[in-house]
């Protein structure tokens, strides 16, 4: 009897194509007559386009189209604000904005053509910081508006009364920087207009339906004239949702040339074209009793979305309020302002605003613990929200494994022995630090629904074909869906084929964001498989004459429930063929939708936006070289409460990947932006961690079995990135007694802080 794959280490169902080099990414597609596209970007952070001369470029042999803003539709695109053109017209608002697009018979010719385009720019004064953009009298970056892209303000309870009860009040400001998503596959699209005039788009994307909606709006086409197909996608991390212009430009060129067009960002272009995460300055004021109970919390955020705001309204929203739900709080106040600037746009990134605030909050708890003479673990425990609680913002927490997460990671790192080693001599000092985190599993705020649909078809050989519009960017959505269907239909996982998302054939789906796919897609798969199973049993009963309730599905066949010998009543292949024959040619095909019973927040931001909430804690040990300022993570343990681990192999993989992204954000990666220009938009100078720059990682799983999760599961791909930066900062403090509040923690900052401390100690 084949065992259920649920809960077992399950290799990715599409791994074979990946290890043999046969997985097809968008940049691998070659169509007959396909053209290669290149984009010319603004070198200026803010300028008026006086004149563009494309004659020489158009005259170059092999060049098929040279488009400017004048060739693009009038429609504006954007998530919250429609504010951006496919190609800039009249004004450019950031250095890197797309101005001219070329399609030619080869990549090199397209690149040659860009050099023949001359653009007469009139540079205009630019606003590089939120302070400058929000100053009295600052010019609006977008016509007719001031530079506030979004603002959130709320108060619950009485913060003043809370602070009045506090034994300790601590206020500090933290600065978080932008992180480039760094997926290994740069953005890529192939677009063509087929013989019927329909636009076909193969894209590296996290959401085919959001991509189609946006293409339709920006290109002023009916949705039904567009088909978007997801190709194997080489990572997304939030960067491939809807904020980049790559597929819009490829589609525009395909429409204008009538030929297939491939636009693959090179890495330099991807740094300019992709959104990096939202930089925020967060001021946090907490009041605690001497036992460590948080009695008041006040948050002030100033965030910089760059020239176009994309999804950053939602990102800032998360920073402003999500962490409040981790704790049993009564008095909170938050005020967050998102400002436009003439800098490259920021947007969605794994963790989605959580990383920023949790860096501040966990650093703050660590600091206050020391002042109060408490173990920070005790403060996390004392304040932790509990299963069954409704948080201050209305979130109904059905499960939490945070306590177990704290136990696991402190034990693994030997917290009790290692914390506070004050007797260290020598130039290299070690310290341990810890942080805790919470994340959503799905999010109703996307459209006041958060459902997903799965279609299961049973082929004539008794194997299942599964359609879902939720995208797999490498995190394993296809494997998860295969596991669920295999489990429910008791089939070997090899008998399940998940079809890649295609807007023509897949059921509608929001796509892969907000850690929602296992929650919503997983539930929909369970429902669809059970519907198929019911039909199979009914049909088997009809065929065999056995009562339906005496039948069951075991090992891919319908059998008598009570039979010892497991005699087969009907196998699935027979049933699939019989279904066709008995239903006038209709194969066994079911569709099921699951929409979480969550509640959209009200105008006061009160609601219950996700079916479940996942938790994590991380403990790290670092070594600080007090002479060079270098910080290295020597050990890391992340404990993830993902409800139920469908696939421990995948959970550990997600956790490890998130951990290294967090280490990168905290220690290694730093976008250098000077006067609005990205100066290090390449992998030689923007340094992602290599294998020798990070330790072998350890991680643990906590299964809190959420009552609303599919088999108890919650989201597991984002939570693990949240605690890393603060855990490292706290460990640095434990090692050498300096507190770094502005990321990244560079050697220069560590050395400067050590010197300042030395001076203060001797003063």
């Amino acid at each position: 009897m084949s065992e259920s794959p649920i809960g077992r280490d399950t290799p990715q169902v599409n791994a074979r194509a990946k290890v043999t080099g046969r997985a097809q990414y968008a940049g691998d597609i070659q169509l007959p007559g396909m053209l290669h596209a290149k984009v010319l970007r603004s070198p200026h952070p803010h300028a008026r386009i006086r004149r563009i001369d494309t004659r020489a470029a158009r005259a170059l042999p092999g060049v098929k189209a040279v488009l400017t803003g004048a060739d693009a539709p009038d429609a504006l695109w954007g998530v919250h604000h429609k504010e951006r053109r496919i190609l800039a017209r009249e004004v450019v608002r950031f250095a890197g904005e797309e101005v001219v697009a070329v399609a030619a018979t080869s990549d090199e010719i397209a690149r040659d053509a860009l050099e023949l385009v001359t653009i007469d720019y009139e540079p205009l004064p630019a606003l590089f910081t939120p302070e400058a953009a929000l100053a009295e009298g600052a010019t609006g970056i977008h016509p007719g508006r001031n530079n506030v892209a979004h603002e959130i303000a709320f108060e619950r309870g009485s913060v003043e009364a809370g602070f009045a009860q506090a034994d300790l009040i601590h206020e500090a400001t933290y600065t978080t920087h932008a992180q480039y998503p760094g997926y290994l596959e740069p953005m890529a699209t192939v677009a063509q207009v087929d013989g019927h005039g329909r636009l076909q788009v193969w894209a590296s994307t996290q959401s085919v339906f959001l991509a189609r909606m946006r293409l339709a709006a920006a290109l002023e086409l009916p949705v039904s004239r567009i088909r978007v197909m997801q190709t194997t996608t080489g990572g997304g991390f939030g960067g491939k949702i809807v904020e980049d212009a790559n597929s819009l430009i490829a589609a525009l060129l395909a429409l204008k040339t009538g030929q297939p067009v491939r636009l693959v960002n090179n890495r330099l272009e991807d740094f300019l074209g992709a959104c990096s995460s939202l930089p925020e300055r967060l001021t946090l004021k907490l009041g605690m009793t001497r036992e460590g109970r948080i009695v008041a919390k006040e948050v002030t955020i100033l965030a910089d979305c760059g020239a176009y705001c994309g999804l950053t309204n939602e990102v800032m929203h998360v920073s402003a309020m999500r962490s409040d739900n981790m704790h049993r709080l009564e008095n909170v106040r938050s005020h967050a302002v998102l400002s436009y600037t003439h800098t490259p746009p920021h947007g969605a990134f794994r963790g989605f605003g959580g990383t920023q605030m949790l860096f501040a909050l966990n650093s703050h708890i660590d600091t206050m613990a020391e002042k109060l003479g408490l173990d920070p673990v005790a403060i996390h425990r004392l304040n932790a929200i509990q299963a069954g609680d409704t948080s201050i913002h209305g979130w109904e927490v059905g499960s939490t494994g945070l306590m177990e997460c704290l136990d696991q990671c402190t034990e693994a790192i030997h917290w009790a022995e290692k914390r506070g080693r004050r007797d260290q001599a020598g130039r290299r000092r070690r310290g341990v630090g810890l942080a805790a985190a919470m994340h959503v599993s799905g999010n109703r705020t996307i459209g006041n629904w958060d459902g997903s649909t799965v279609v299961v078809k049973l082929n004539e050989d008794g194997r299942a074909l599964v359609h879902s519009g939720e995208c797999d960017m490498g995190q394993g959505a296809m494997t998860m869906l295969s596991q669920v269907i295999a489990h429910e239909l008791t089939l070997p996982i090899e008998h399940i084929q998940v079809v890649p998302p295609d807007t023509d054939t897949s059921p509608f789906a929001i796509g892969t964001l907000a850690s929602r796919v296992t929650m919503s897609g997983g539930h929909a798969a369970i429902l669809a498989a059970r519907k198929a199973k019911a039909q199979l049993l009914a049909l088997a009963a009809e065929l065999s004459g056995h009562a339906e309730e005496t039948l069951t599905l075991i090992d891919g066949a319908v059998r008598l429930r009570d039979a010892d010998n497991g005699e087969i009543v009907a196998d699935l292949a027979t049933l699939a063929r019989q279904h066709i024959w008995r239903h006038g040619g209709e194969g066994l095909q079911v569709s099921a939708t699951w929409d979480p019973q969550t509640r959209m927040h009200d105008d006061d931001l009160y609601g219950n936006i996700a079916s479940a909430y996942s938790f994590a804690a991380q403990a790290v040990e670092v070594e600080v070289d007090t002479e060079t300022g270098r910080v290295e993570v020597v050990e890391s343990f992340v404990s993830d409460d993902c409800g139920k681990a469908f696939n421990p192999l995948a959970i550990h993989g997600q956790t490890n990947g998130a951990t290294v992204q967090a280490i990168g954000w905290a220690l290694y990666e730093q976008l250098q932006v000077e006067e609005g220009r990205i100066m290090n938009g390449n992998f030689a100078d923007y340094t992602l961690a290599t294998a020798d720059a990070v330790p072998m990682l350890a991680s643990g799983i906590v299964e809190s079995n959420d009552p609303k999760g599919p088999y108890g599961a919650k989201g597991a791909s984002e939570t693990a990135i949240l605690p890393g930066a603060a855990a490292i900062a706290n460990a640095v403090h434990d090692a050498v007694g300096v507190r770094i509040t502005d990321l990244p923690i560079t050697p220069e900052k560590v050395l400067a802080a050590l010197r300042a401390k030395e001076d203060a100690d001797h003063a």
């Binding site: 090199e108 690149r111 040659d112 050099e115 330099l268 001599a425 020598g426 130039r427 002479e627 060079t628 270098r630 290295e632 990168g664 220690l667 290694y668 990666e669 250098q672 100066m679 290090n680 030689a684 100078d685 340094t687 992602l688 961690a689 290599t690 020798d692 720059a693 990070v694 560079t746 050697p747 220069e748 050395l751």
Partner: protein, 288 residues
């Protein structure tokens, strides 16, 4: 990259003639790892690439106890790192070559190409300078030899005249008492290029050093020897105090670069730290 002609001379003399045909428009290509980067970003756009790929005479490593080491200019970093003679007689050089860039670049990039590119943020030049290497240059008027000090002129600039190419690198024979240590310091563990490197070579006699060559690289425009530090080291028996003082002299004796990867002050400070650690390692002194 922009289009170009690819030429394949059969001898160094022919390569030299080809270079002279259109000196402004021609570049030599050996492994090509650095050149391709510049050309792909269109920062370099030669109209002619003259490949040294067929010049077998520029390959190979030969060691002779009297003559020292001859390294063909087309020797790849990985070949240098794996060569038994280099490992035995010039362990510092083998150790450096094993750490250049990354495995793929070590399998493709050549020592001659690396020297001709004269990128400050790289490893071989400083190490070779500490080992008193000379480059053998073939040109239209025959052959000449230059020390590394004379060969490296400035940021991305060498002493090569039109029509000249490096054919080999020569190292003097090792002697009893020679010790060397090559250190490269990365600003963070994830960076790819050294922020500072320090190549230290001494010839020990009894308790002291009869000769010393101390070279700072990566943080200076070209690798830089620090004579006052060398003199101090030769005048004082190795001790923690000597090492500290020498490291100070090294740090104060250079003019550090200042750029996005590190300010001059920070680089100088790192030079001091790495110098002290390297010398302590060289003399087997405790680091703390």
């Amino acid at each position: 990259m922009r289009d170009f002609d690819f030429l394949e001379p059969a001898s160094a003399a022919e390569a030299s003639r080809m270079l002279l045909d259109e000196p402004e428009e021609s570049r030599l290509i050996a492994g090509g790892t650095a050149l391709m980067l510049g050309m792909r970003q269109r920062m370099l756009s030669p109209r002619r690439l003259i490949s040294l790929g067929r010049l077998e005479a520029l390959r190979g490593i030969d060691f002779d106890a009297k003559e020292g080491l001859r390294i063909g200019a087309l020797t790849r970093h990985a070949e240098l790192a794996a060569d038994p003679a280099v490992q035995t007689h010039y362990p510092m050089l083998a150790s450096m070559a094993a750490r250049v860039a990354n495995p793929q670049v070590r399998n493709q990039g050549t020592l001659g190409g690396n020297l001709c590119y004269a990128d400050p943020a790289t490893d071989p030049p400083g190490c070779l300078m500490a080992l008193d290497a000379q480059v053998v240059i073939q040109g239209p008027d025959g052959e000449r030899r230059l020390t590394i000090e004379a060969f490296l002129v400035d940021y991305y600039t060498t002493a090569l005249e039109p029509g000249e190419l490096i054919t080999e690198i020569r190292l003097p024979p090792p002697a009893e008492g020679d010790r060397g240590h090559y250190a490269r310091h990365l600003r963070t563990a994830a960076e790819h290029r050294p922020l500072v490197n320090l190549a230290a070579w001494v010839r020990q006699r009894g308790h002291g050093c009869e000769a010393a060559r101390l070279v700072v690289g990566a943080s200076t425009v070209v690798p830089t020897r620090v004579p006052q530090a060398e003199a101090y080291l030769m005048a004082h028996p190795p001790s923690e105090a000597t090492v500290d003082a020498t490291a100070e002299l090294i740090a104060s004796g250079i003019t550090p670069l200042s750029d996005a990867r590190g300010s001059a002050a920070y680089r100088r400070e790192m030079v001091r730290v790495i110098a002290r650690r390297s010398l302590a390692h060289l003399f087997a002194l405790p680091l703390e």
